[in-house]
């Protein structure tokens, strides 16, 4: 049997109306689950600019250039627009923007992309301008219609009013006329003092659909005649198909075809279960000649050997070598090994391809660099880029997994679609096992730390060597390997940080908070050990070395105050503290820990203070801190992807790559530092401090420093 030649009923695209900047508008379909959610929103809406559309029903739809996967850009960007538009929150909606590297560029990256906790930071002014522009266009249209000066028109909570004449209207009545007006060149923005929406706990726009099952994710798109494809992947990194036998797979009811693709063997079926059953029935011989065959243990041994070799210099302040030779020093040394970590978002990677009558293709997926996906897919499908439309969908988490330069996932998905012949709509999906074993991990790292304390109890020297893969694929210094260490916030006169890049076929990737996942742990546990060595209180000790870093000190002081640091801790419990800046956001955390039923730390409470500049939506900021704490804690306590003997990947699903669960989640209290600094991101910065804070509490509770992660492996070893 081969893939049947049935074309879809999908209609072609029609051009968008004149005013917006080259945004194609898709026709409306019966249901989103049947078709996927078209980027850009309902074509009946009137565009004020590339980011704001207004409906005749008074709704305001914000086109989010950033993907929504829980970190809150739909709500955050809509808040910025609504503030300057003087809209009422109840009329606000948000959808994903179409894919366009210019119009929808992340202003920090220069191309469309979500990552680095940058959504609010880069779009803060841009979205406010988009709102202010739309407001000016509505006011101008109303002034024309009412024949009154625009300067006499007020807008408040979605109502346009002219007091003298008593005229009043919603936005909808003027949407069409406003859309025809030229936008003002430089719209005036509000003084932050008069903000009414920014800084308030507005309810999130995407909550309802995510509570009643109606929110559509990529995996939910099920057009008629859909083909499901899964790929059999190797269990070793760097392995390739040598040969395969699909006889049994083809016998499975519902299996349509089997094809070799660059990444493995693809099974095509009429439904998901048939695809899985068919894949299970494949017999594949893998070529391991170029595969990684060392175990994680062997890799770690190789990493540690590099500590003694000269590395790439990241920081060299003062003279560390001389400082360590000074008489009367106490020195502390530590070596810490960090494992590979999978991101394991709830929705495994997936994409849906639907060909239109004109041969162009709509792709529905949830990726952080949609235009890169577009370029990669167009090349593989042999189409002009303009004939491939990437419609960003809500994604079930990411944590960095869906931000891939070169779009390696899309390379597989598009190759699978191309090999199918493309005559049926196709959904390519990964199972949880594909996800856990799929690489693009937070790399393994090994740190060697050396600290010197003089007779006066001052930390005089700090040397740190970091060995691991370069996430950016660099031959020279990769800043993401050393960030958080090379810019050590503590005032230490002699500081040297070096790194070694390791080349592996195991593909690396950024993982929620990137370099800070390991540097934050290494720095914050090591400085804590130094303080313990000299009998210094960990909060006092840090504050004394943070005199030039007021924002670090601010969140540390606040977290300590929230926890009533220094007060009596319940019997059998201990407290730990850590403070980490990442992505220009400062987070201090205090944790309270006891020994749990499995012998691993049980974290009862986390007090968290965050300074992210202007707080656009405190509710979302708190949610991101809570979630970041849970995400970071789960990894530190439970998680490692390990290569077993011969290099085979050991873990495969949530039974052996454990996620934190509700019974393991601490109570969390979050406070936001009031600030007028520019807003910075909150998606990642909640993650780094929790691990070292727990390890610090654990060391003070048990006497055992945490030198290897996850902690559960140490306590059960």
């Amino acid at each position: 049997m081969t893939i049947q030649d049935i074309s879809t009923t999908r209609r072609g695209f029609i051009a968008g109306s004149g005013l917006i900047i080259g945004v194609a508008i898709a026709p409306k379909f019966a249901s989103a689950a049947a078709t996927g959610v078209q980027a850009g929103g309902d074509p009946a809406l009137k565009p004020m600019n590339a980011f704001v559309k207004i409906g005749t029903d008074d709704t305001v739809t914000v086109l989010s250039k950033h993907i929504e996967f829980g970190q809150g850009p739909f709500t955050g960007l809509a808040t910025l627009v609504a503030e300057e538009l003087d809209a009422d929150w109840s009329q606000m909606r948000a959808v994903h923007s179409p894919t366009d590297n210019k119009v929808y560029a992340n202003l920090s990256f220069g191309l469309q992309g979500t990552g680095g906790s940058s959504s609010i930071a880069n779009a803060y002014e841009q979205m406010r301008k988009a709102g202010a522009t739309a407001r000016a266009m509505l006011v101008a249209a109303a002034a024309d219609e009412w024949k009154v000066p625009g300067s006499e028109i007020a807008v408040e909570k979605g109502r346009i009013r002219h007091a003298a004449s008593g005229k009043e209207s919603g936005f909808g009545a003027f949407a069409e006329k406003a859309a025809l007006r030229a936008p003002p060149a430089e719209p005036k923005l509000k003084d932050p003092k008069v903000f009414t929406l920014i800084g308030t706990d507005l309810p999130k726009l995407d909550t309802h659909g995510k509570t009643n099952g109606t929110a559509i994710f990529t995996l939910d798109i099920t057009p008629d005649n859909l083909l499901i494809a899964v790929v059999a992947h190797p269990e070793h990194f760097g392995a390739a198909v040598k040969s395969f036998d699909a006889t049994e797979a083809r016998k499975v009811q519902g299996v349509v075809d089997v094809k070799q693709v660059p990444s493995g063997v693809a099974v095509y079926a009429d439904n998901t279960f048939a695809a899985l059953k068919g894949r299970d029935a494949l017999s594949i011989e893998w070529d391991l000649s170029k595969a990684e065959t060392r175990s994680s243990e062997e890799l770690a041994a190789d990493y540690v050997k590099q500590f003694r070799e000269p590395g790439l210099e990241a920081t060299n302040k003062g003279n560390v070598d001389d400082a360590f030779k000074a008489p009367g020093l106490q020195t502390v040394e530590a070596e810490i090994v960090f494992p590979f970590l999978a991101h394991a978002p709830m929705e495994p990677l997936d994409a849906v391809f639907i060909k239109a009558a004109d041969g162009s293709v709509d792709i529905y997926n949830g990726a952080q660099f949609p235009a890169m996906d577009q370029q990669v897919a167009a090349k593989i499908l042999g189409l002009e880029e303009s004939k491939v439309r990437v419609n960003t969908q809500l994604a079930g988490g990411s944590f960095g997994r869906k931000a891939q330069f070169g779009s390696p996932y899309m390379q597989e998905a598009a190759a699978v679609y191309a090999a199918s012949g493309g005559n049926r709509p196709l959904k390519h999906m990964w199972t949880r096992e594909d996800d856990i074993r799929g690489g693009f991990y937070r790399p393994m790292y090994a740190h060697r730390m050396r600290g010197a304390i003089n007779a006066d109890g001052q930390i005089t020297a700090w040397e740190q060597v970091i060995v691991g893969q370069s996430i950016m694929g660099k031959a020279d210094l990769d800043p993401t390997s050393v960030e958080g260490a090379s810019n050590l916030p503590y005032a230490v006169p002699n500081l040297k940080v070096t790194s070694h890049n390791v080349n592996l076929v195991v593909p690396p990737l950024w993982w929620r908070s990137v370099g800070h996942t390991h540097t934050g742990f290494a720095v914050e546990t090591f400085v804590d050990e130094l303080f313990q060595k000299i009998g210094r209180d960990p909060v006092e000790g840090r504050l004394a070395l943070l005199k030039e870093e007021p924002r670090h000190a601010g969140v540390l002081r606040k977290a300590a105050e929230m926890a009533d640091w220094g007060s009596k801790v319940p019997e059998g419990r201990s407290r730990g503290v850590a403070v980490v800046e990442s992505f220009n956001t400062y987070v201090g955390q205090v944790v309270e820990v006891s020994i749990g039923p499995e012998g691993a730390p049980r974290v009862h409470k986390v007090w968290c203070a965050v300074d992210c500049g202007v707080a656009v939506n405190p509710n979302v900021i708190k949610a991101q801190m809570e979630g970041g704490i849970g995400y970071g804690l789960g990894a530190v306590l439970f998680d490692a992807v390990t290569l077993g003997k011969g290099g085979r990947i050991v873990q495969s699903n949530f039974h052996d790559y454990r996620s934190i669960r509700i019974n393991e989640m601490p109570d969390v209290a979050v406070e936001i530092i009031k600030s007028s600094e520019k807003p910075s991101g909150v998606g990642e910065p909640g993650v780094p401090p929790v691990g070292p804070a727990v390890a610090n509490a654990w060391r003070r509770l048990t006497g055992a420093p945490v030198r290897q992660l996850p902690i559960v492996n140490i306590v059960s070893a």
Binding site: G644, S652, H655
Partner: protein, 215 residues
Amino acid sequence: MKFKLAFTGVAAACLFMTAGTVFSPISVAQDAGSKSLRPASSFQSIANQEQRSAALFQEAGKVIQHPRCINCHPATDRPLQGASMHPHQPPVFRGDGGMGLPGMQCTTCHSAENTPVVGQADTIKSIPGNPAWHLAPIEMAWAGKTLGQICQQIKDPARNGGMTMDKLVEHMAHDELVGWGWEPGAGREPVPGTQAEFGELIKAWVDTGAACPAS
């Protein structure tokens, strides 16, 4: 084939074998290599009846102390799982009648039969099931005990569910949930021998005075 899940009173415990031994195994005296049981008749050569009895129980211990059995006779309210006998994932707890807690009973995942899992983890080939799936009462906890201690416990009506020795023999030889140990579903090592052979060992042990191994 059909079986309904209306048997919400019945419940679950053991689960998957895992390759990644995240937790250290609880120490048990286990003859891991042996897949068979010596027949009860082969113990005739031991002249001393008490020694013979203890030896019979020692042989039955290959079954009793196998992870398939220990996992559902945990020392705490949380069942164990897999050949490494780590705490059950996801976390589940005893509840009323050993059938789980409200909202997370054994039947949330387990059913009346072993259920094959297709196309997922190579370390999870099936979800075990049985119409009587549930956790042994806490007074019947075996995990962490020596075979001698388990033997004493099994003879004690206060700690064996009030069973007479006849009932105990019947239970070991014919109980359906005990029998699951020999047919534990794909991906799981069965207990050694057959239930009939195990029943004969227990009967011969009782008939010889039910003596217990020293440790």
